[in-house]
Symmetry: C2
Subunit: 415 residues, 2 copies
Amino acid sequence: MIPQKRPAEDLAATALEHKIAEQPALSNGSANGTGNGSSLAPLDASKLIITRADPAARPVPDEATACSGNETVCTDHMITVSWNSSTGWSAPELKPYGPLTLMPTASVLHYATECFEGLKAFRGFDGKLRLFRPDLNCKRMLMSTLRISLPGFDPAELEKLIIMLMSIDGPKWLPASRPGSFLYLRPAIIGTQPQLGVQTPKEALLFITASFMPRMDSPKGGMKLHTNPEDMVRAWVGGFGYAKVGANYGPSLLATNEAKERGFTQILWLYGKEGYCTEAGASNFFLVWKTPEGKTQLITAPLDDKLILDGVTRRSVVQLAKERLADELEVVERKYTIDEVIQAHKEGRIVEAFAAGTAFFICPVSQIRHRDVDVHIPMAQGDVGEYTAKIKQWMANIMYGKEQHPWGVVVEEQQ
Amino acid sequence: MIPQKRPAEDLAATALEHKIAEQPALSNGSANGTGNGSSLAPLDASKLIITRADPAARPVPDEATACSGNETVCTDHMITVSWNSSTGWSAPELKPYGPLTLMPTASVLHYATECFEGLKAFRGFDGKLRLFRPDLNCKRMLMSTLRISLPGFDPAELEKLIIMLMSIDGPKWLPASRPGSFLYLRPAIIGTQPQLGVQTPKEALLFITASFMPRMDSPKGGMKLHTNPEDMVRAWVGGFGYAKVGANYGPSLLATNEAKERGFTQILWLYGKEGYCTEAGASNFFLVWKTPEGKTQLITAPLDDKLILDGVTRRSVVQLAKERLADELEVVERKYTIDEVIQAHKEGRIVEAFAAGTAFFICPVSQIRHRDVDVHIPMAQGDVGEYTAKIKQWMANIMYGKEQHPWGVVVEEQQ
């Protein structure tokens, strides 16, 4: 798999690029991440085996009830696909939602051999069920699974499986009687080989659930961010901040919890001694400010140093703002520091700010605390800024079918 | 839990120190990591509920067979203890080894809310069964669980549970007829709350297994290390390299696999643009060299910047070398770079090197490749260096009861 003529010095540096480059040969199974050739079965959605749950067994709760407990309420079904390094991917199964069985020695429980995606399914005001740019989630999942040494797959097959799950569970769990509501889809891959010792798992499981999730895009008074302490860093250059792997999340909880105990919503993660602004909790972060010269800019951290997640919402915000706000503001992806933000605040140049991600959608930010300094951020419309509101509405219109747009992928439902 | 008078700027910086400082009040349950006071049940080994497996059901394989497959062979029993944030720790259960049941939404499968320990049980040449400094593993496990926002516990109670498991499974699985053999003990804590959303788990599970593990301390030709590529880093200052959390392991597999494909055993992880030597795979790394002035030193990376694991084997090597080799060499814990190692090699000053950890024990290192440079390391006795062999023998003598020493903790067995 690794060409022998490769110079010695690049070793794993380009491993991920190599693995992704192998993906064109997906149909013969070489995308399994093992480097083990053509005899392995690829992920194949057409082989889906369907075992239906009794539809009467579980009533659909209302949204408030579903989101009130300490347990995520999932739909009737889930999809599972097992993989092993000698045969490749098994036939996908769509079956009643229920527990997984793992040996105590399973890789994922010890070595964080895990990655996931998050996307939503929307019940449109036109009655249709849509996903939002699911191709991007599926491509990112491929990148994440290869980064964490789990098996690869053709992203288009994963997308088909997600659509199949919503096609079957959508009509009941996201009923046409609830336009404007959504479900949360969670594909994940975990290393299941029951063997201790730090090594690439020879067995894995892909699973997809659909569930309720609370709406988090309009917290009372806006989202309040606290910068991370200097001795606690989320991601680093040469790390894996750009991949949606479990290892980016668990370690962040300690700082997040302390911020919450102080009344803040999330951490604004800074990087390096310069204090570059990167992410807001597990969301991307956007700021609208005026430059000292008086130009209005929408600014967000860049992707090129691989510190932050290449968010689907982030990408969509950037694109919509460039297309629809070009007359009003400039969209800038560059490194910028917390000191620049504080200086802009002192000079009254901060216009508004928001976090962007699948879980928080577009969530207005009202405050940043950094050490002893509080940056209070305007929300021109009371609970949201003017540009934030515009972008949020455009996105929602696409998601809920008020605007027909290629990003809104309609799911054909099995009635 | 967090004193309100604390200055704003330290936020989570000292969160871990605070949580650990709370530990003296262990008996009233305040060590659960929730900050939720005295009504929570502490981890209590005296409440152990024992359900025995049929001892005839599973014969004990020989060591070679047990280590030949793709699945870890565990002993008859495991210990599990569940925890939730409203009641604390449940009564521990010792029961037949078998699968765990987790909901697909369990925290550990998505957010790497997991930590573990590794230690060995040894069948001595005097017939006794010993653990090696288990108190250190149990204390480190407390530090790891708090770093990853899982519940705390009294380390002495965990030690009692480990001893109970070996007391029951030791006689059969580490029989007196196999002096010089060992089992591997793996305590782990995972976040089990079945709720998506990045948050501290309100439910967790502590489990302990005992299993076979291959001997890895004498690879033919010595351990060969390849330095990591510049764009792939294991740990970083402000991260969690010092904690035994899953998030340190999965992300390292990509670089390790490529090194293995090139014929190397593990990665020698360098840090920073200076190229400081830190760890060898998941083991600590030791080098014996002569200084330019002709002094013999045993050198290893320091603990103070929290990049590397505070290994029990590492700590023991440092202590034994200071006590028993003081006339022959100086023990130095300081930052040193790969360039210093290469320079020493050029000048013929490298004496020997080894990796030190529970899994690899004391494993001679014969080569380091950094970019295009090969550092060939002497092994004075053919397959091991002189000091390496001495230290290894002293450690083995304590583990297997050839030397009576406080580090070798004898387990009273239930015959």
